[in-house]
Amino acid sequence: MSSILAQDVIAPEIAWSLLAPFAILAIAGVLLVTVTSVYPRLRGGSFPAAFTGTVAAVALATLVPIWERVNGPEGAQLVVANALAVDEYTVFITAVICIAVFFAAMLLDEYLRRENLDGPEWYVLLLMSAAGGILLASAEDLIVTFLGLEILSIAAYVMAALHLRRLDSQEAGFKYFLLGALASAMLLYGIAMVYGATGFTSLRGIAAAASLTNDAGLSPATDSSLMLAGMALIMIGFAFKVSAVPFHAWTPDVYQGSPTPVVAFMASGVKVAGFAGMVRVFWIGFGPYLNDWRPLIAGLAVLTLVLGSLLALAQTNVKRMLAYSSITHAGFILVAVHAGSSASGSLLGGEAFLFYLLAYTLMVAGTFGVVTVVGGRGDGNHDLSDYVGLSRRSPLLAGMMSILLFAQAGVPFTSGFFAKLRVILAAADDESYVLAGVAMLSAVVAAVLYLRIVVSMFLVDPAAATEDADAAEESVDVDVVVAGDGVLAVPTTAMVAVALATAATLVLGLLPNLGGGVLTDAAETLSSLR
């Protein structure tokens, strides 16, 4: 399929085989919308979800030969007029994004049926968003970075607002769009300034410009105020996307209002792509200006960690709690970014960064999977009290949820612990002890919120809690299954998705060296380009 298109439509120097994952996702999106409009009976049912899941798996599979190529003698490839890089790093991030798509598709299936929202649009947007994410992660040119970011985000804005009957969802979509657009504008302005300072939009050009000199013996980039302002604006743009404090304010509202499976993708896929783009732009393009932007990252990390974990304490809505938890995780990832960008060239930071993204994606996908199920018809049961007695209504689900939550808290023998451990090790290697200390302490504060959910699920007596709830709440949703001894019906696909995420979390916690070479190679690509 792709080869026909390649011959007929697009110029031959585009290396389709290397761009296969991106192409597969994008073309599958178009195909899905076409096929379902030709055969309307395919619109409902499980076809779109199965299709999307398969596409994600196929895209994942194409990564294997690509990895072999870029990891072999050919090495990293710059394709499409040097605008995209296909290297180990791209492959790794693409894999993580595909995993996120896979989980989101599995969660969406039953969710849409439950909410009477069946249709292929969700999956088309999901595929498009993921394709944008891949573009963002592999962009070697700021224009392409922007393009990727927009494709990624616009699809996500729409998905956030796609629960047509819920006002919350509309509000979330609108908020997400407005703030996201602001962030994009800043990013674009930053790109313009960097171009003004250096005369390049390509990352390697920008990096090289730092060492160029003109007739007067000055580097064009010595107009550093322009360059600094540009980098700062670009950083703000990315900080919005990865919800780093103080650019996080949209996160709790959007997470709370958006359809839960979409949140699963926003928290995993979108965030991963945002971080991936940020790291590529800063490590490669702005590598020579390391000393200027590195302190900013450290500052962002501290703010994100401290505020993210503290603000979570005041929440009682599980989706909002998890939104703050994802902010705290972003803080940890920023610590890894900080450590990985040290001048020493140690690979620990890069490895920590990549491992964290993978572990985090699996944990967060599983956690929001459980939230999707508990949310119930109307997607409204997200209060802590809705989790009371979950251990009786569905012991398996509650058990897996607690594993996922403890993993997020960083309990040993889970991937979450190794993710945090790698970050702390990298920070210690870099001698950023204060940063490491702040990170660990905020992990403890963040643990409170995970424990509160676990307490609700296991330790609160359902009978006592319902009495309290009846007394306190006046308006009770009719559709809501009241916390009690009834068995919670868990859809199979959701259960499988959560089980897969839990299993992966445990496996990565017991065999943390699994695919260790992949991590090292991917981290190496990044640092070798600096």
Binding site: E351, P412, F417, I424, A427, A428, A436, M440, V455
Partner: protein, 560 residues
Amino acid sequence: MSPLLFAVEAGAASPSFPVLPSLIAIPVITALVLLMMPASRADYLKLTALVGSTITGVISVYMLLQFETGDAGLQFVTRADWLPSVGLSWFLAVDGISLFLVVLTGILFPIALLTTEPHHDAKPYYIWIMLLMAGSMGAFVALDLLLFFFFFEVVLVPMYFLIGGWGHEGRVYAAMKFFLYTMAASALMLVGIASVVFLSADATGGPTFDVTELASAQALSDTAALLVFLSFALAFTLKTPAFPLHTWLPDAHTEAPTAGSVILAGVMLKLGTYGFIRFGVYLFPSVVEDLAPIFLTLGVVGIVYGAAVATMQSDLKRLVAYSSVAHMGFIVLGIFALNTQGLQGAVLQMVNHGISTGALFILVGWVYERRHTRQIAALGGLQKAAPLMAGVFTLVMLSSIGLPGLNGFVGEFLILIGTFSAARWYAVVAATGVILAALYLLWAYQRSFHGPAEGDNASMRDLRLSEFLGISPLLFLIVFLGVYPKPVLERIEPAVDELVTHVEANVDGFEEPEPIPVARAGTEELIHEAEKAHEEAKKKEEEKKKAAEEATASEEGADE
């Protein structure tokens, strides 16, 4: 299980199967088996848990028998890479310091399972206990700094659920407090671990978490060592718990179910003091030497404060909990005396405290089960209705007080002499703790077991035979270790000696003070030893004479 975990290197004592990995693996496997079993048959679940923990206990005793007594080094060494890129490995071993803690864990768990029953949800209860056993075992046998931290942290989860799920009225609060306090205190320890590893990386040739390598490298500057030690000390002080970080303990102990209290007191508190010895004194000898007065003070304050507060308690379980604070103060004192006697006493006292406080918690649990109250005021005259229980209680209580002839005495005595030769006045103040212990325990005993029995107290059921048999191993150990502690002490001593030598070698101007010449408790032994020494001296003299005679004879011969 990965075969990697079982790759065994030849150690000093290397039996035909991987002893230490199996100590961790068998409880985990038991937990998995329990997970597969139907929840409705509580009796089968209990039996399975009991079998799994007993097998583990038997293996730990087997290990004790195979242990080379005079060897100060690590034994049963097992090594397997885990995350080689950062130098993390499954490095398991025991020496004289950890040996008896492992055995204690192996004995206490089956007893705790045997003597107590969960009142609901038996399946998860037993699963958590088995996971707790695996974690505790792991923490005592891990010689990889990070692996220790793993187990140190992971035991929080089962304990959290045990307290929160099967505890008393304030259980959720107590569980949360327990988890967060401990996690908060050990959060910085991870940063400390990472720092010490990378700061010593040059000296050890690449990052490694191997404690022995880190200890011999001693590569940290004074300030760095101080900061890292403090990050460790915070975690261990809280876990021990030493004054002033003890506030979580009364809550956790009081609210926990009986088995939880037994394990918490018997095994988990030892993680703190064991950590101080293994990862504090061993890794940072000079800092420990500098800061010893501070910790000696904390120890003494803990002893007096714990005892004073225990006296005031109206709740029997809370009283025992505060007595733990006092007892753990003794152990801290022994550790920071930094000499062979003190450390030896501290290690022994860890075991003793596990036995006697564990037994006390079991007894208090039985009283609560029968009377549904722990308030001392509501009890009284129990002795008439339950003479056997009163007898058992008396023995255990006397052991906890430290009556000569029972186990508690030996440990406390060694600690006090050790402290006396290192820091005289601390020992003097600490000795009052022994008197206070007699005060609060005897007083509590008197109020609850003596006097006229009224109402339900008069009809309280005595111990069943099965209950008595369940606790009897502990009673046996209380008497045995009090009368004949030699087999234990002679296994602890070489390792402790080596540790003190390590401290002497790495701290300028530190020398172990001349020990007060009482190496063993019991006058008979002393006399025996003196006689032996006398005989040996005689023999030596005779030999010398003989040698001299021979020499003169041969000289004469040569002359001729």
